[in-house]
Amino acid sequence: MTASVGRAQAPGATVDYLDGWATAALSVGLLVAALCLVAGLRGRPPGRWTVGASVILQVVLLAYLVRYLVAMATGSSPVGPAWELWAYLVTVAVLPALGLAWAREEHSRWGTLVLAVMAVVAAVMCGRVAQIWYGVGVAPA
């Protein structure tokens, strides 16, 4: 995963594995993370906005998973290993739910920050899924 954030690429080079779907999932994840981070730093417990945003992220991530399900059902296949792709996708799809379950029990700023952590991790993992799909930074077979 050393090249997970495109570190190996020259400055200004296009990150061409980020297609529309990956860009959408990554952006929503980072936006939700930023929202929860700000709310958490301001001392807010999980509330309407942060919980709502996490629910939206959950829906987006499920759509992201379905996108790959459809792609593979219609004959496409990832350049990287398929099992690795699915390991990431399944993990990604449960992260916001896990965070929300935990945030329910922790009614303080820390509950909100858990939501932020889960959103960041989900965003990064969505990027990694796209890398595996297009074969970027995949270990030699």
Binding site: M1, T2, E84, L95, W102, E106, W110, V117, A139, P140
Partner: protein, 142 residues
């Protein structure tokens, strides 16, 4: 009444900042375990040292996470030990991979101080030890 009792039984370590730290540990258990299992099952010969170290890292993350989640003094001591080993592991493996890159044909979780994981493996044990030092004691603190 029963709620207060349950809160007493709940580890002081899993409330407040501890919950965020535990969430990060859970993520690393998932990440390190699946990575190590995948590397070892599919291409162990490609980089035996790096992959064995990934497995060691995964095992230490599992012990640390369980010990953080379990209440009580003994679990506290286990978590301090596991997280100290984790910190030493990141530093040793990180330095090793910088000095002898040829022995790391593929990355392990801790190679280059966890660069592939945004250096979180380097920060996490420090956070963990800080939190354990703060949360010691029978009474949960806010």
């Amino acid at each position: 009444m029963s709620e207060a009792k349950a809160a007493d039984r709940l580890s002081a370590r899993t409330t407040g900042p501890g919950r965020v730290i535990l969430a990060l540990y859970v993520v690393f258990v998932i990440g390190a375990t699946s990575r190590a299992a995948a590397q070892i099952l599919t291409r162990f010969d490609a980089a035996p040292l790096a992959y064995s170290l990934s497995a060691v890292a995964a095992a230490i993350y599992i012990v640390a996470t369980v010990a953080l989640a379990v209440p009580g003094e003994r679990a506290w001591r286990v978590s301090v030990a596991a997280i100290s080993v984790e910190l030493a592991g990141v530093l040793v493996v990180g330095t090793w991979s910088v000095l002898r890159p040829e022995q790391f044909a593929d990355a392990s979780v801790w190679s280059h101080y966890g660069r592939g994981y945004l250096f979180i493996p380097l920060v996490l044990p420090v956070l963990g030890l800080w939190w354990l030092a703060r949360s010691r004691g029978p009474r949960p603190r806010r």
